[in-house]
Structure formats: C-alpha cells, structure tokens
Symmetry: C2
Subunit: 466 residues, 2 copies
C-alpha cells in the first residue's frame, strides 16, 4: 500500500490532498520558494497527527509541518514530502483568567488568540504584522519575535507547556501551567525554535498577561539612532520599564511605504531621517483615568516627557496618538515591513541582531561594506530598535553577487557580537550562514540531538542544520 | 599513568586533592549524602576544564561538576568520581551597564555578583537564602529559583549566553548578549537545569535589571491562603505588577523559627495562622522621593492599600518595614527555611509546585493524606506562594514508611496538575519521582539526548534520569 493510500485509509479521502489541491502548500508567503509535495494531510487531532507520523516513519518518508505559511526563511519547503498541515488543530481549548494561561491547539491563528484573551481582560502580548495568518504552531516552531519582545520576551518566554508528536508517532506530553518546574531536561525549549525538525508541536499552554489599561503611542523624530536609544533609556526610566515597542524606520523606508500606499499620510510635516514608533503600556489604574485634556495620564505624561526632550534637542519632532485610529495609522507604517522590504525583485533579507550599543556602528559599517561591493546598492532598513534587531534588506544593482553582500553584512554583525538570525530562523535560507558563523562544537551538538530524536531524519529534513 | 597522575601533570600537584583534603567535596550542605571521590580538581580556566574532561573521557572516569555545595537533592554525589570544582573560575569579567549584562565565571558567588551589579546601579534579581555560598555554575546547572521568580523569572530567564565544556573536553561557545537569536536549537536552555549531566558550564552572560529605586516590604496576616492570593492580585493591580516576593509562612513554621532563634521577634503582637512576607520594587523616580512621613511613596501607598484591605477584613494584621533593619528582620525569618525544615532528623523534603488556584487544595489534601498514613506526622511548610511553589517538609513519627508519605504528597500534586520538583531539581533525591510521574516518552527523549551528548556516560552519572 502506498503512503498516500495508507494516509487516506486513516484520515479519510478528503483529508489527504494531492495534485492541484496542494497549490497552497507548494509555496510560502515570500514566493521565493516553490516545491512539489507528495501530498498534504490535514489531521484534526493529536491522535491523527500520531497516525500520520507512524505511517511516514514506517515508510521513511519526509514530513514537513506547516501552519500559517508566513515564514520568511523557506522553513516549509517540502519536495516529495508529506505536508502536515496543523490548521485544523485550531481550538482555543481554555482561557483560565485566574491562572493567566491559555491552552490552545497549534492551528490557532494568532489574532484569534489575541481576541479571546482580550475578551477576558487579558493579553497574549506576542504580535507582528502577519498575526491574521500566522498560527501558534509556527510561532513556537520558529520562536517568533515581533514588536513587543522588548517588554514581554520572545515566543519561548510565553510558553509554559507544550504537547508534541515524535518522529515515530508518539505523544510527548510537556503540558503544564507551572511557573517553576525543574524535573529533568527542558525539552520544551529544545523544541521551541527547532523549526519542526525534532517533533511536531500540536498544543501549548501559553502565558497571558494583564492587559495594559492604557497605551501611549507616538511617532518621534530623532537626530540619530544613538540619540534615539538615549530617548529609549529616558522613557524606560520615567515609565518604570513600560516601553512595549520602540521601532525604527529611516527615511528610505518611509518613502517606499508612502509610494506603495498613496492613501497613507507621512508621519511628520517634513521628512525625517530617523522615525521612531514607540508605545508604552501601563497597567496600574492610577494611570488610566482620563484627565481634563481627555488624555489618560500616561499619554499626557508621554507628551510632557517628549516636550522636555524637544527642548533639550533630543527629539526633533513628535506626534502622540490621540485616538485608536491614529494609533492604528502609526502601526500600519511599521507593519508593512515585509511588504516594503520585498517590494523590489531580488531583495536580500538580513534579519540580524547586535547589542543595542552597536546598532549605529552596524548600520554605518554594513552600509560602507556593501557600497564597496556594489556602489548602487540600496538599503531598506526597519528595526525593532529596542531589541537591537535590524531587518537589513538590500536591493542590489547587480554589480556584486548577492551572497557576497550577505556575507559582508554577516561579517560586520559577527565582529560586533551579533547574530545573523535574530527572529526569522534558519529554514533553508540561512543554512550557509549557520555553517559560516556558528561554533562547530555547537553545530555538532545540534546534529547529535537531531539524530537522537529523529534517527531516520524524516522531520523537516534539510532545514536548520547545514 | 593513572588518572590522578595525569591530572596532576596537567593542573599541577596542588590543584588535585586526594585523601582528607577531599572532605569538603565528600558531602553536601544537607549532610544527607556522603561519598568518597576519586579526587578533587580545581582548574583555573576553561582550558584547564577541557584538559580535565579530556583525561576523564579517555579513561571513562566519571566527573561530577560542583560549585557551591548548596544543592538539596544530592546532585553532587560522586563515589569514585573526579569532583570538578569550578570555584576558581570566579572572575566577574565584565559588567556592561549600557547593555545591562554581566559576564561571569561559573565560580562566582551569587552575593558577589549582587554587589558588583549594585555598584553600577543595577541588580541581578535572582536571590535566595544560600546566596553567600551558592555559585553561578550551580545556579545554572539547577535552574535555581528563589524568592523573586514571581517578577523576574527563574535562572534560565536571566541567562543570555553561556560557555560549557563537553564530555570529550571541547569548548561549546554559546556566549552572546543578544535578546533575539534564532540560529538553531537552543542548547543554552538544554544545558540550564541539566545538573551537570550534559556538559560543564564554565561561563555565562547574565541579564541585569534596573535596580528598584525603592522597596516596600511588609509582613501581613491573612485568614487563609486563598485570601492571601486575593491580596496578591489586588497588590499586583495597584502596583502595576511590581510585587517581587510573596512568601507564605504558617504558624508552625514561625514557631519553629522562633524556637531556633530565641533572639528573634515574632512578626505580630499575637500569633497568626497565615504569615505573608511581601515586597514591592519600584523603578520609576516619581515613587522614590520620601514624603512628609519620611516614607517613600511606594511604602506609603502600600500602607494605605493594606489599611483599606484591613477595613475590608482581608488583612488581619500588617507591619510595613520602615527601615532596612526592619526589612532584613523580615527576610531573616523567610531565609531560615532550609534550616527550619531540616531541623528535625528524618525530615522529608517535598519541593512541589501547583497552579496558584490549587495551593489551598494541595495543602488540605496533602495534609489529610499524610495524616491518614501517620496520624502524628508534622508538616513544616514554607512557600513561594506567588509562584505556587510549596516547600512541603514532613516530620514523620515513624508510623509510616517515608517513601509512602512522599508518594502520597506527589499523587495529590499530580492530580492538581503540579510538579514534584519545582526548583530544587532531581539529583539523586527525586529520581524515583521522575520514574513515577514524568511522561515515559519525555523520559525516553531525555535519555536519547543524554546519550547523544555524553555517549560514555561520564558526566555526573546516575543523576536526573531514572
């Protein structure tokens, strides 16, 4: 019996797609990768995921787990593979307000979880542009980052427990809602960020946080990235660490965004070199009652602080959002990042991070190195500046080989103690960088772990490890 | 050439101890475990640790890493083993105030790091009673918990990077100061909490936090554990999540403490059933200027909040610390926990955690189950109540077998979705519990990882995995 027949026998005809029905699972959001799967399976329970894995394991057929298709690193490429879609595991099983946890399936869409948490006065603080499509399984598999990491950490910091299915089709039960649990190796953190190469994540227990009772959101123009970081520290001091997002968009980014969105408004009356989107979230009730000016105090106090900093010359211009509409308009600029960066054919994406105090040096040095190779190269930068995470896209003119430009960027990153993959992961896209820049002893340990947990090498083969 | 000769040849005579010189490395703090090592080595650098591991690996001799000897689970037991002491790797190599990180050796004593961070206006927020002896290597190897986990997380949440030496004596370089880094499997989290069974941690990059500019510390008497948790939520709401510690000491604990420390004062005028030590830390400057009453506002506002809650009957009595001396007196009661729990011969220590909303049920049910087995058993409880982490010691009368009492407690824990090991780890002490209560598929995955990274099984053999 063929693998497809065996899968159909177990899941039912309509849960195993082939031919043209596989179109949606034969490419990813970037369009950069295209492949031809063996078939697509759509199991509806953990038990069915186990059955799929048992069949694939017996036949030694590769399996590529996939949820929202929004990855940027080719992590779901699967020529000849069983594409294991987790989208039907989309139950928000439980929201426990007292314990501040959510129990969810891997197929839950991020924005659906946002809404469910908010309905209980809580918040799941991980967020990014693709939240309407990205699903929890993919978030965990890639340890997704985003715009609130500054305050709430990466995806892994928001996961208390998880359930996964092993390569041979058994349930690995790590479901717990505890904040302290020292009972053996932390397999949870090993699976998070392993991009489906060690096991298939099927469910998770996620931390929720108190929903900020008030947000203060502003666009600020600064003279330089370094001065923007002084501003960040000042705001952290004044607010007691309440800054949730601190996002950098240079002039070239803003120009491209406005060109792609003729209906959109520029953030300031005159164009600025350093545009910062910042947001504070405050939970204490004393900060949430609107004052005489109609602003909640946190917004008022942000306005005062920014006014002071303008007097000191640290802030060149500033606009504080006075409504949810204005706040949404500010965020729309930032959340077009992937669209903006990839709007030119042949764009080279670098998702790097360096220590905060090295961001300015990185931008200067990487720019110089790239222009030495390709004088007409254009940089398209957008950054989670508060984390030191720079999305450093390059639009080459063709004067230099793309790989040479990426290597040049990565050498600057490495010299500054940074990483070539901050939040997008490795997939296929950054495997060469893994080989170039990760410690060989660490790579060997990763390979040993991979072989230990997936001896036949059927789980998302060819990804992550060079 | 014998292993001892080889080690002496490499490290020098005086860095390899044998015979009576090994006394300090032949038992741990509890005195419960005693053993006879092969020898004790005291390397002074990562390179020397590599050399030790190469010699041990070639000879297939067991190696037990040890730093501060303050573990409670027998994790450093080492009959016939090379005791690898990390205490000489005690350099605080760097404190980078801008990046808020410390780079330290595994031998740094926790309180030394506290002082070094404070000298820069920062704080390393992990703390517990043994901070004057415990060393960073042990903290990381056991993922130490303590009293501030509620706000700052466990040890693993404070580690950005680390360096370790593998079983075969090579340097595993995971040193990074980045907050976002998705470049392959997270070996850092795999090593943290693995109790020296996968590699020897030699250095680390640790997160520092802004030092709270003001603390408000109080002892509060509540009617019940459940009402104390209502109080915790109320304080979190009012302070915007600034509660750093919320510690529970019942009457029996307080009585024993006072009996052991005749010089100490009782917390309240009359004895109380539910004694809570709580502490808030506030970083914003607006809360740190003393008011007319000489109290910083955060203390004043705690006093007001507690007065309101007394009127509502939720708080029975309360004392707010008005000086550092009073604060230290409050903490001294809590930090005698290990001494108090183990002050009776034959004490059975259970370090459990349950979801917050199940703590009261745990205490009631565990007490009933234990008294059914041993009517004269005495409970000696102290808890990090804000984390659901209960140190549930039992002083048995001898009417029941100790193992039966522990199993009864663990069954109650498991039924409530809890863990039998919250922060102390497994070592030798909780191996039977691992076998009873952890998912067999998870145990198998852990064993596969152990074999992959330490094929000869020389690193702290016999620990953690049943």
């Amino acid at each position: 019996m063929s693998v497809i027949q065996a899968l159909r026998g177990t899941l039912g005809e309509d849960r195993v797609l082939t031919g043209d029905d596989m179109a949606a699972w034969s490419t990813d959001w970037t369009g950069r990768y295209r492949w031809t799967p063996l078939c697509v399976v759509r199991p509806g329970s953990t038990e069915e995921v186990c059955a799929v894995m048992r069949i694939a394991h017996a036949a030694a057929v590769p399996v590529v787990p996939v949820s929202g298709h929004t990855g940027l690193a080719g992590g779901t490429h699967g020529d000849g593979a069983v594409m294991l879609s987790l989208e039907r595991l989309n139950a928000i099983e439980e929201i426990r307000p007292e314990a501040r946890v959510a129990v969810v399936g891997a197929g839950v869409v991020l924005s659906a979880l946002h809404e469910a948490a908010e309905a209980q006065g809580l918040s799941f603080p991980m967020t990014f542009g693709a939240r309407g499509s990205a699903r929890i399984g993919g978030l965990l598999a890639t340890n997704a980052g985003g715009s609130n990491v500054l305050r709430y950490g990466n995806t892994r910091d928001l996961v208390l427990g998880l359930e996964a299915v092993t390569a041979e089709g058994r349930v690995l039960d790590l479901m717990t809602a505890l904040h302290k649990n020292n009972a053996g190796y932390d397999l949870r953190h090993l699976l998070i960020g392993s991009e489906g190469t060690l096991a298939v994540i099927t469910r998770a227990v996620l931390k929720l946080v108190r929903q900020p009772r008030a947000h203060a959101t502003a666009m600020v123009a600064a003279r330089s990235v370094s001065e923007a970081l002084v501003l960040l520290n000042r705001l952290q001091d004044v607010s007691g660490g309440a800054v949730e997002a601190f996002e950098y968009m240079p002039a070239a980014y803003m120009d491209t965004y406005l060109a792609l969105h003729p209906e959109a408004r520029a953030p300031f009356d005159s164009p600025q070199a350093v545009n910062i989107l910042l947001e504070l979230g405050v939970t204490a009730p004393r900060d949430s009652t609107p004052g005489e000016d109609g602003l909640v105090p946190v917004t008022g106090s942000l306005q005062e602080t920014l006014a002071e900093l303008m007097e000191q010359g640290l802030v060149l211009d500033a606009v504080v959002a006075r409504s949810e509409t204005q706040r949404a308009e500010m965020w729309a600029r930032r959340e077009a990042a992937a669209e903006v960066s990839l709007s030119r054919l042949g764009a080279l994406v670098n998702d790097v991070a360096v220590p905060l105090d090295a961001v300015e040096a990185f931008l200067t040095e990487a720019g110089a190195r790239c222009r030495a190779l390709d004088p007409d190269v254009q940089e398209m930068v957008v950054a989670h500046l508060g984390d030191g995470n720079v999305h450093y896209a390059l639009w080459p003119s063709g004067a230099a080989e793309g790989g040479a430009l990426v290597e040049a960027v990565e050498e600057v990153v490495r010299a500054l103690g940074g990483t070539f993959s901050a939040e997008h992961g490795i997939g296929l896209h950054k495997k060469a960088s893994m080989a170039r820049h990760r410690d060989p002893v660490a790579l060997e340990a990763m390979r040993a772990v991979k072989t230990a947990l997936d001896p036949k090498g059927i789980l998302n083969p060819g990804k992550v490890l060079p």
